[in-house]
């Protein structure tokens, strides 16, 4: 199965002319402003377009079509109702700069979302503007920096990050002008407190933590960590990537966190869209509340209104042109209303039940669990170090062999400190039957790996393409199509890879 590029389907002069103005309007723009060559856009019919993109969609794995146990990404079902109601014309046609008097419906939803997020985290206030988890992190760390600077404590420029952290954590700290200090993980998966105590000092701005961690375990010493950081004058940042595991069980604020972000596209079921849009809303306790990014939705006697610089003079400023990914916020709002209090409390129950069940079943099937003596959170780690050593069958081979069985691969090679690992997150929306099917598929691959391993090495063979040459992709960079007549080839850069 393969599909021509949309450009290759076209014919000069063909068009989907129902879709644009019937006549070409004259303009009187001076020639220096006007384009001479048309851009390289397809010349195709509407049916060409519909058929082409329908076919392309069929070349994807997705939650709607496949089990997708991608660790740390929380690929749960995205309820269709959330999309339908967020797409009502009153919402999609609302201009971001429409007057507040014409925006009370939208503002009501956003204000109530802020309130519900406060309840599920214990934070004092939320700003909904960050457009992805990484931007939520940027907001949070910038707020920590702004807080120290505001107090005249300008020497606090170090951010502590566990070695197991997601790559965005250290990258964010650097973007905020901080230096990064890594704290190691103990053999049981918890942060090494002894090292942490030595790392902190008057230079410590704060720590960025995920709990449960990216290793799939809840750090039991979180209160001790809090005491160390706060005693040193630092603040605690909560990376909400794994909030799904503790929803209704623990409030990040009660663990001692001062600021956090939530990935609405994980815990609150908004779609991942093939890589975005996400939403990384940021919440703060009383200490950091004045520094939240603008705008925030506030109330007055006459209804809801935007709070901006004038209301929040210490704000770190604006992170998006308008209000962040508003449509994503509406989907999360609808999801929370559909589940309600009792439904949200159930999320963690069944996400954690599913993860522990699959962990136990895989252990029984002969897999090496990285933290066998710990409870799984909503996800857990398997290592294939043994299989790699004996038969050369790697985590990547397992991942690809799963694709041939109609299952999306778990996260591979993350966290970096666990060799040949798979991070498996089933989510609460998958049934026991699906989980059993997954365990059976994994068991089958394990048997193959134990015999020759050759089949795993060849996988996948049922997908539209087999394993791709990534080295060639980087060395002979081909990142846009060029029609054959212009240069006879599509490679535009020939440079050594990084």
């Amino acid at each position: 199965m393969s599909e021509l590029l949309i450009f290759e389907r076209g014919q000069p002069g063909r068009s989907a002319s129902a879709q644009f103005p019937r006549h070409e309007s004259a303009h009187e723009l001076p020639a220096q402003f006007v384009r001479s060559e048309p851009p390289l856009l397809p010349e195709v019919s509407e049916l060409d377009v519909v058929r082409h993109y329908t076919r392309l969609s069929q070349m994807n794995f997705s939650i709607d079509t496949h089990f997708y146990p991608l660790g740390s990404c929380t690929m749960k079902y995205n309820p269709r109702g959330c999309n339908s109601f967020a797409s009502l014309p009153g919402f999609t046609q609302r201009h971001p700069l429409a007057p507040e008097s014409s925006s009370q419906g939208f503002l009501t939803c956003l204000f109530e979302l802020q309130e519900m997020l406060k309840s599920v985290t214990g934070m004092a206030a939320f700003s909904l503007t960050p457009m992805a988890g990484a931007q939520g992190e940027l907001a949070g760390v910038a707020m920590i920096r702004a807080y120290h600077v505001d107090r005249g404590d300008i020497g606090r420029t170090e951010i502590i990050v566990p070695d197991a952290a997601h790559g965005t954590n250290p990258a964010t700290a650097t973007m905020c002008g901080c230096t990064v200090k890594e704290v190691p993980t103990r053999a049981d998966g918890d942060v090494n407190l002894d090292v942490l105590r030595e790392l902190v000092g008057s230079q410590t701005a704060g720590i960025m933590l995920t709990n449960p961690s990216t290793l799939g375990v809840f750090d039991k010493n979180i209160k001790a960590i809090e005491e160390v950081i706060h005693a040193a004058g630092g603040l605690l940042y909560y990376d909400g990537a794994n909030l799904n595991a503790i929803l209704g069980k623990v409030l990040p604020a009660e663990m001692g966190f001062d600021v956090m972000h939530i990935n609405l596209h994980k815990t609150f079921a908004t779609p991942h869209g093939g890589g975005g849009p996400g939403s990384g809303v940021v919440g703060a306790g009383e200490t950091l509340k004045p520094f939240l990014p603008i705008p925030v939705v506030g109330t007055t006697a006459n209804g809801y209104r935007w709070l901006d610089e004038a209301d929040l003079p210490k704000s770190i400023g604006r992170l998006s042109a308008f209000m962040g990914n508003a449509g994503v916020l509406l989907r999360a709002y609808i999801y929370m209303r559909l589940l309600g209090r009792e439904g949200l409390e159930r999320v963690a129950d069944y996400a954690v039940l599913n993860a522990n069940y699959v962990m136990v079943q895989l252990r029984k099937a002969g897999f090496d669990i990285v933290f066998p003596d710990r409870r799984a959170s909503h996800e857990f780690l398997v290592t294939l170090k043994r299989q790699t050593k004996s038969k050369g069958v790697t985590a990547m081979d397992f991942a690809k062999a799963l694709l041939d069985r109609g299952i999306h691969a778990p996260t591979t090679y993350f966290p970096l400190l666990v060799p040949e690992c798979l991070l498996i997150e089933p989510t609460e929306t998958e049934s026991k039957q699906t989980l059993d099917h997954f365990v059976a598929a994994m068991t089958e691959i394990l048997a193959e790996a134990a015999s020759s391993g050759a089949q795993c090495k060849d996988a996948p063979v049922t997908t539209p393409v087999k394993r791709l040459d990534d080295v060639r992709a980087a060395r002979q960079l081909d990142v846009r199509y060029q029609p054959p007549e212009t240069d006879g080839g599509a490679q535009i850069v020939n440079a050594a890879a990084d």
Binding site: A16, P89, H95, S119, G167, G177, F218, P277, A326, K466
Partner: protein, 458 residues
């Protein structure tokens, strides 16, 4: 249980397999003193039917008949096929295409998108998109500072005619990178950037110059002079453009003698609904020599084991998940779904359709401005040519007129005085191809009436 498929029997079997009595036991590693009570701030569940009623009620409150607002978000016709296709579950509910073999659909869409955006902007390479136009400008600024190693000042010139929210976002995101943003004023007559003020910086070390086209007033800047001056100073040009306008206007790759090497902007006009400001997507394109400093995801074409063409994420060594604290950006995701919509939109329009939409939007705004100028006391605030937005100077306060026209179901424009105090009584208005001549007539009549009423009242 909404969206949870477990029967009691399933749950019992699973708990037995794990070897615990109940689900609560699975949380036994969480210290008791940390366990929270019920989430009392969240209302109890309501059915999909009830949620539907609630959301319709909220959505209906915000409906307006006629929208003449622009200022960074534009109402264009979106062909039905765009979102019919984009919301197919295979696009909508997929994740980042890390497993390339299982993501060829998304990857090919992005490759096609990259091709279209590179050509539209006159560049060689496009990334897979960024969050929105404002954050794209911030990332383009950071990129320019990384690229221009010959310059030591980290000083970036930003015209005052750049959308104030874009300037604010760029400031917030680059705040801790010791980048100095220097504002260049606009000419109060033409509405273009004051080139004399720009040239007063000649001979100083300038790292980059931001060039908006059109600028926030809808006015076309003298981009050739701008680009050439930046090049003469050894500064990198960063073009900030509206993608619809490029159906008609000369692309930044052709500005001045050498063209501008970095281009960014807001992708929303390409098939993404207004939606209160998001999700939109930012685009960022550049010359091939700069590709290794380009932030964000990039899709490349390569071959599989059988020599068959296929697509994969490439140059990932630049990205945060590999480079961690040495990464040059913390961007993790792109706006994949919006890019899917934009790619389908551009495919449906083609070169002819995009030019017609641009030309028609330009014509409608010109028509509106001409008709409005017939009202006593109303005049265009600026003399330079504009694209599809215009600033009208009214004889009365713009805010009062806006509120009165809102009550007639018309969003009349933006009162510019909140961003530019010196532009008192000025109204920023946009008319795209979606407006009929009757709509323009309705607008101008209402504007005339409300000005008259305001005058009578004062």
């Amino acid at each position: 249980m909404p969206f949870i498929p477990h029967t009691d029997h399933d749950t019992q079997l699973m708990l037995q397999a794990i070897g615990v009595d109940d689900i609560n036991s699975l949380f036994d590693e969480i210290p008791d003193e940390l366990r929270c009570g019920k989430l009392m701030g969240v209302p109890t569940a309501i059915s999909e039917y009830e949620v539907g009623r609630l959301m319709r009620r909220q959505a209906d409150k915000d409906r307006v008949e006629l929208n003449f607002l622009g200022a960074g978000a534009y109402e264009h016709h979106i062909p039905a096929a765009v979102w019919e296709l984009t919301t197919r579950g295979e696009f909508y509910s997929a994740y980042t295409p890390y497993q390339a073999e299982a993501s060829q659909g998304t990857l090919q869409v992005i490759y096609e998108y990259q091709t279209m955006m590179a050509s539209l902007t006159g560049q060689d390479v496009s990334n897979a998109s960024l969050y929105d136009g404002a954050s794209a400008l911030a990332e383009a600024t950071l990129m320019a500072v990384r690229v221009n190693r010959a310059s030591k000042s980290r000083r970036v010139l930003i015209p005052q005619s750049v959308h104030p929210h874009y300037a604010a976002v760029t400031k917030a995101i680059t705040a801790s990178q010791s980048i100095e943003l220097v504002q260049i004023p606009y000419d109060p007559n033409s509405g273009q950037t004051d080139l004399a003020a720009l040239r007063s910086h000649a001979g100083t070390d300038i790292t980059a110059v931001i060039i908006p086209q059109p600028n926030v007033f809808g006015v076309l800047e003298q981009v050739d002079e701008f680009a050439d001056w930046a090049a003469d100073q050894g500064a990198l040009g960063i073009a900030l453009v509206n993608p619809i306008s490029l159906g008609l206007l000369r692309p930044p790759g052709e500005w001045g003698r050498e063209g501008v090497p970095i281009v960014c902007g807001e992708g929303q006009p390409l098939g993404v609904p207004l939606s209160s400001g998001g999700p939109y997507f930012g685009f960022l394109t550049c010359r091939e020599a700069l590709v290794r400093q380009l932030p964000g995801r990039l899709v490349g074409r390569t071959v599989d084991r059988d020599g068959k063409l296929g697509f994969t994420l490439t140059l990932q060594a630049r990205e945060q998940h590999i480079r961690r604290s040495r990464a040059t950006s913390n961007i993790c995701t792109n706006q994949g779904l919006m890019v899917t919509a934009a790619t389908i939109y551009m495919s449906l329009l083609g070169p002819q359709g995009l030019r017609r939409v641009a030309a028609e939007s330009h014509a409608k705004t010109r028509g509106l401005a001409a008709a409005a100028a017939m009202i006593d006391g109303v005049e265009p605030a600026f003399t330079a040519p504009h694209f599809h937005e215009v600033v009208l100077r009214l004889p009365v306060r713009a805010g009062a007129v806006i509120e009165k026209m809102r009550r007639q179901g018309i969003l009349a424009g933006i009162a510019l005085s909140s961003w530019y105090p010196e532009l008192e009584n000025c109204l920023l208005v946009c008319a795209t191809e979606t407006k009929t001549d009757a709509d323009l007539h309705t607008y101008v009549q209402a504007l005339g009436q409300q000005i008259e009423a305001s005058r009578a009242a004062s």
